[in-house]
Symmetry: C2
Subunit: 159 residues, 2 copies
DNA sequence: ACTATATAGTTCGATATTAAACTAAATGAC
DNA sequence: GTCATTTAGTTTAATATCGAACTATATAGT
């Protein structure tokens, strides 16, 4: 009887798995992290290292696909731990600029290091190339969702 | 220089996309939902319809891969809205049994119905069969995470 | 029976998320 | 220059999550 329309089922199953994986992997991640490092905090730290720092909170929020309120929260935590510094933007009085500190770099490196054993175990059972093969579809889905989200109001983007 | 070790990158990218998709799809889902229906609440409702009701909160929590605390919270919300009823288990004084109400069934059906247009738009751009093709890998990853999670303590499972 | 342990569920504290209201500064109309 | 609109960031109120502490019941060992 479930063959009536299998489309919804496939889509549903897909997003259901995605949701559970996100949750389980996030938990596993934070459990391997030193201190009280959380996934969003690490993501920002990692972002600052990869694409460079000095950008505005809003720009980082868009890159991470979270709201600016969420980014304010995350940045406040990181700043309290002295892993980043936030300075006012000289040329724009309402903007700020985010910089990673030396301590922030160290912590980020430690996080990556402490993650290695776990990733190694994962790679033993599920080959990274398989994961890589799935990436194009995931990116397509993510971009579709991102676009669909902005269709109604067409705010933001291109920040 | 990023070619030094591409394994972590592939794995990282995979889970990063997964995380963002989970977040965006969850938001999109809740935006199309009537009332204040949330994804976890709907998931429980849907679960009760698909596998049948009368099970314990802990069993449902395990099926959804969340903690029992999270399930307590979700069930309390659903019960407040009269979408489920929770009765004591006759044969086990510390357990409860969860039942979906008639109103719960209706709301669940309305949720599915209100979701259809969105799924239709999605299916136009990304074929459901592509999503279905990705399912086996996702399931494998999910199960791996689930197993790895329980390796240290070996609690629960098989509820 | 008594005691120790395990299980079911709740509560608490920390974290996160969104959406919406709000403040402050920049930009544009005129 | 003045006023309206947009943009950057914060704050607030819901919701959710986890993990750990806690209560109550069941089970096992002796």
């Amino acid at each position: 009887m479930t063959s009536k329309n299998n489309n919804p089922d496939a889509i549903f199953g897909f997003f259901n798995e995605i949701g559970i994986i996100a949750q389980l992997s996030g938990n596993a991640f934070e459990k391997t992290m030193p201190d009280g490092m959380t996934l969003p905090q690490f993501s920002v730290l990692n972002h600052l290292m990869r694409v460079g720092d000095g950008h505005s909170p809003l720009r980082i929020a868009r890159a991470m696909q979270v709201t600016k309120g969420a980014m304010t929260n995350t940045l406040q935590h990181l700043e309290k731990k002295s892993l980043i510094t936030v300075k006012p933007d000289e040329t724009d009085g309402r903007a700020k600029r985010v910089f990673i500190t030396e301590q922030g770099r160290q912590v980020r490196d430690e996080c990556i290091a402490s993650l290695a054993p776990y990733l190694g175990r994962l790679a033993t059972d599920i080959s990274p190339s398989e994961l890589a093969d799935a990436l194009p579809l995931l990116e397509r889905v993510r971009k579709w969702l991102d676009t669909a989200r902005e269709q109604p109001s067409r705010t933001s983007r291109s920040g």
